[in-house]
């Protein structure tokens, strides 16, 4: 006899109705995947019970790849083809990466983003990251024995547009639908705040393997509001390892090392650094390939001294973020510590001294970001009841601007503006009959464009010929909730929509992603046609579900005639969905049906705002 499952009223959905979405922390050193199960977030272990997947990918001559622990074993023996800390290269050109000469790889400079030369060909950091993401997806699917509807992937808050876009592209390549790119400190705040029912102003100090973030948030019941954010997307635990490595070389008076010895000694230094978090002394003891024995002892005090400037660098960013939020350290109620590198006692002490309070460590600093991402993924998948939903208000970390005459930057959207946001800026022509215009978009705080990160050139074409200065071209810069930029343009005076040719210097086009998949992205040998049909089917079903929900709750916003028309559109779409196997035709049907429900969607949105504001004024009385 079949047992019927009945859920308690108001409680979350029965298990079989839950849409499973995961949270992924794609870290510099390690990556994790977590889900919410029985209302609790949980990191998913692999078949051997390990929760951290080393962010290491090895390319083999036969085109196969290894990732995680398997790849980690070859870090010393095959340094050129075994990529570690690839996150440092995401969305970056060779000139953008500090100390790139220390990395053992053969780099290929490409416009926008570098590539790594391996035995399996030139690999973009996006492809390397996609290998890690594909493993995590597989791990999650094996673990829950079900399909994953999507993922929330975390990025450092201080990541710029190019780095975010690269992360999103990597997910696309790994066949993962990104529900949201979430800032790492914000994810930590969710996990921490919901766990501790926190109220007030908090700071999240996140020192990971390769990135540093500081975010200041106001947490109140059900709202996480980021007030300011700052950091350094190229500062992390790796730099402490490297500092120690240089010190050991100096002490042992070693000549320049081979790639293999470099990796070997660096691993030994990482190990010593970890020991120094618990022990007053540690020893770097390694035999190099030529038989030389390196044996150097180091005390906690010495280690603190040689890395003090790195800690100080983080504190400068903390002070800047506090200033941006117009706050003094004593106004911050607590500091949540995130990232493995915050285990170092001198980091703890420096942060504690600055804020005058003991840092909060009661969640595992390696896991807290993934746990928060899993909670947000569960929320976005629609598994929370409306009363339990929380609201996340985040900001853009770096100012967006355009380059003007003389290489100066005109800021369009200042840093720490809440997202999503859009700003329009008018441009004009400077020559008679000019029909095209190029705009250089930059991100950063410096006044000279050359010191900011260039996001790309946007070319406007098809401007009607006019006298110099007569055209008025309104360019709109929009940043969505993922922190990603899009640009649109319109010639105002004549009403001609200038066609805009967007040429960002980074990011993959759909065609490039398709090509990478065809070229044999090792972990995702998929049938492209099946994949695109599947995507359209998901879109169609989502529209049907959304409209059905809308009809159930807000039918009164439509006249009888309008309601019948909407229902008719849905009926047609349902038929196409059931029968159609051609993705392009299905897409057309979805577009058509969507257009027919636009007005309804707008009315519902307006009604809900009216209701929310009315509720507020009633509460005030």
């Amino acid at each position: 006899m079949a047992l019927l499952q009945i859920s308690e009223p108001g409680k979350s959905l029965a298990p079989h109705q839950r849409r499973i979405a995961v949270g992924i922390d794609l870290g510099t050193t390690n990556s994790l995947v977590a889900i919410v199960k029985d209302a609790l977030p949980k990191v998913l272990p692999d078949s051997k019970g390990r929760e951290l997947l080393p962010s290491v990918v090895r390319f083999l001559p036969n085109g196969q790849t290894q990732a995680g622990f398997e790849a980690l074993e070859s870090v010393v023996s095959d340094p050129k083809n075994t990529i570690v800390s690839v996150k440092r290269f995401m969305g970056r050109g060779i000139v953008d990466v500090d100390h790139i000469e220390n990395a053992p790889y053969d780099f290929v400079d490409e416009p926008g983003m570098l590539k790594l030369r391996t035995v399996a060909g030139d690999k973009s950091p996006i492809e390397v990251s996609a290998e890690i993401l594909a493993r995590l997806r597989q791990l999650a699917e094996d673990s829950v024995n079900d399909e994953i509807v999507g993922a929330v992937i975390t990025v450092p808050a201080y990541f710029d547009d190019a780095q975010r876009q690269a992360t999103k592209d990597a997910a696309k390549l790994a066949g993962i639908e990104v529900l949201r790119l979430l800032n790492e400190p914000t994810a930590a705040a969710i996990a921490y705040g919901l766990d501790n029912a926190t109220e007030g102003i908090y700071a999240v100090y996140d020192l990971g393997g390769g990135t540093f973030d500081i975010s200041i948030l106001r947490m109140s019941r059900g709202v996480f509001e980021v007030l300011s954010t700052g950091g350094d997307s190229a500062l992390g635990g790796d730099d402490f390892d490297h500092r120690l490595y240089c010190w050991v070389i100096e002490q042992a008076k070693l000549p320049p090392l081979s790639l293999q010895d470099h990796r070997k000694l660096l691993l030994s230094c990482t190990h010593a650094k970890e020991q120094l978090s618990h022990n007053p002394l540690a020893r770097v003891h390694e035999t190099l390939t030529d038989g030389t024995v390196v044996n150097v002892g180091i005390s906690q005090a010495q280690f603190f001294e040689i890395t003090q400037n790195l800690v100080a660098k983080t504190l400068v960013a903390v002070k800047k973020a506090l200033r941006d939020a117009s706050l003094k350290p004593e106004e911050v109620k607590g500091v949540v510590m995130v990232g493995g590198a915050t285990r170092m006692p001198h980091v703890q002490r420096a942060v504690g001294d600055l804020f005058g309070s003991k840092p909060l460590n009661n969640l595992n600093p390696d896991q807290v970001v993934a746990l928060g991402a899993a909670m947000q993924a569960d929320l976005l998948a629609g598994n929370q009841s409306k009363d339990d939903e929380w609201l996340l208000l985040d900001v853009i970390p770096l100012s967006l601007g355009v380059e003007t005459m003389g290489g100066l930057v005109e800021k369009i959207i200042p840093r720490n503006t809440p997202i999503p946001v859009a700003r329009a800026q008018d441009f004009t022509t400077f020559k008679d009959g000019q029909t095209a215009l190029a705009i250089q978009v930059v991100q950063g705080e410096r006044e000279l464009a050359q010191y900011c990160r260039s996001l790309g050139r946007f070319e406007l074409r098809g401007i009607p010929p006019m006298a110099a200065g007569a055209a008025r071209i309104r360019v709109t810069f929009q940043v969505d909730a993922d922190g990603l930029l899009s640009v649109s343009a319109m010639e105002q005076g004549s009403g001609v929509q200038a066609s805009i040719d967007i040429k960002p210097s980074y990011g993959l086009t759909d065609a490039e992603i398709t090509r990478m998949l065809q070229d044999g992205f090792a972990s995702a040998k998929v049938d492209l046609l099946a994949r695109s049909l599947r995507e359209e089917q998901v879109n169609a079903q989502r529209l049907l579900d959304a409209v059905q929900t809308a009809l159930n709750s807000d039918q009164s916003l439509l006249s009888d005639q309008e309601r019948v028309a909407v229902e008719q559109e849905m009926k047609i779409l349902k038929e196409v969905l059931n029968e159609e196997t051609e993705s392009a035709i299905l897409r057309k049907a979805v577009d058509h049906a969507a257009k027919a429900t636009d007005e309804f969607a707008q009315r519902r949105m307006n009604a809900s705002i009216q209701k929310a504001l009315a509720g507020k004024s009633v509460a005030e009385i």
Binding site: L179, R180, V223, K319, R323, Q376, L379, L380, A381, G382, E389, L391, L392, L393, T417, P418, I419, P420, V421, A422, Q478, D480, A481, N539, R542, L543, D545, A546, V547, V590, A594, K595, T597, D598, A601, Q602, R604, M605, N606, S608, I609, Q610, K611, A612, L613, A614, G615, K616, S617, E620
Partner: protein
């Protein structure tokens, strides 16, 4: 009551009265109430049109909040609603007394760039000047409804604000 067709009036958008002096906590509450409905996270599983509309409304409410929260942009916005263009790019004419005071401040900043306590005295003076001007703006807008006068005062406030930021930068360079 919110009037959404009037998205060109941010005050009405948040159900607030159209005046210079506003209750900032009421603005904050209205903003959060609207964001709870329109934020893209609330519509992650919605149709594409729902997502697009949610995004537009979320952007609108963020723009409205940013405009109303800061007294200078709020004042300039009120002037614009009443047909007075502050002409910030072209009109830089200022009363002589005002310009003299600005020059004094700048000299003071240059002379005492390394002296924290002198800079803090200057901060006090600048803040006081800002408060006085704001009081005049309140009278001009909420009292006399003289938007031309308000625009002139607000142009001055922009100068004061810019100087306050430079001063703040100088101070934080010393900390």
């Amino acid at each position: 009551m919110a009037n959404l067709s009037a998205s060109d009036d941010y005050f009405r958008f948040f159900g607030l009265d159209q005046q210079f002096q506003i209750d900032l906590s009421a603005l904050d509450r209205a903003y959060l109430a609207v964001q709870r409905e329109v934020h893209p996270d609330r519509h992650a599983r919605g149709s594409d049109s729902e997502k697009r509309i949610a995004m537009q409304m979320a952007i609108l409410s963020n723009t409205a909040l940013q405009t109303l929260k800061n007294p200078i942009t709020r004042g300039l916005y009120l002037c614009k609603l009443h047909g007075v263009d502050a002409r910030l790019e072209t009109n830089t004419a200022m009363p002589t007394a005002f310009l003299m005071k600005q020059m004094d401040w700048r000299e003071s900043l240059d002379e005492h760039a390394e002296d924290l306590s002198s800079l803090e005295v200057l901060v006090e003076e600048v803040n006081q000047s800002k408060q006085e001007t704001l009081t005049e703006v309140i009278q001009a807008i909420d009292g006399a409804k003289n938007y031309e006068r308000a625009a002139e005062l607000l142009r001055g406030l922009l100068f004061i604000d810019k100087f306050a930021i430079e001063l703040d930068d100088a101070i934080s360079a010393l900390l």
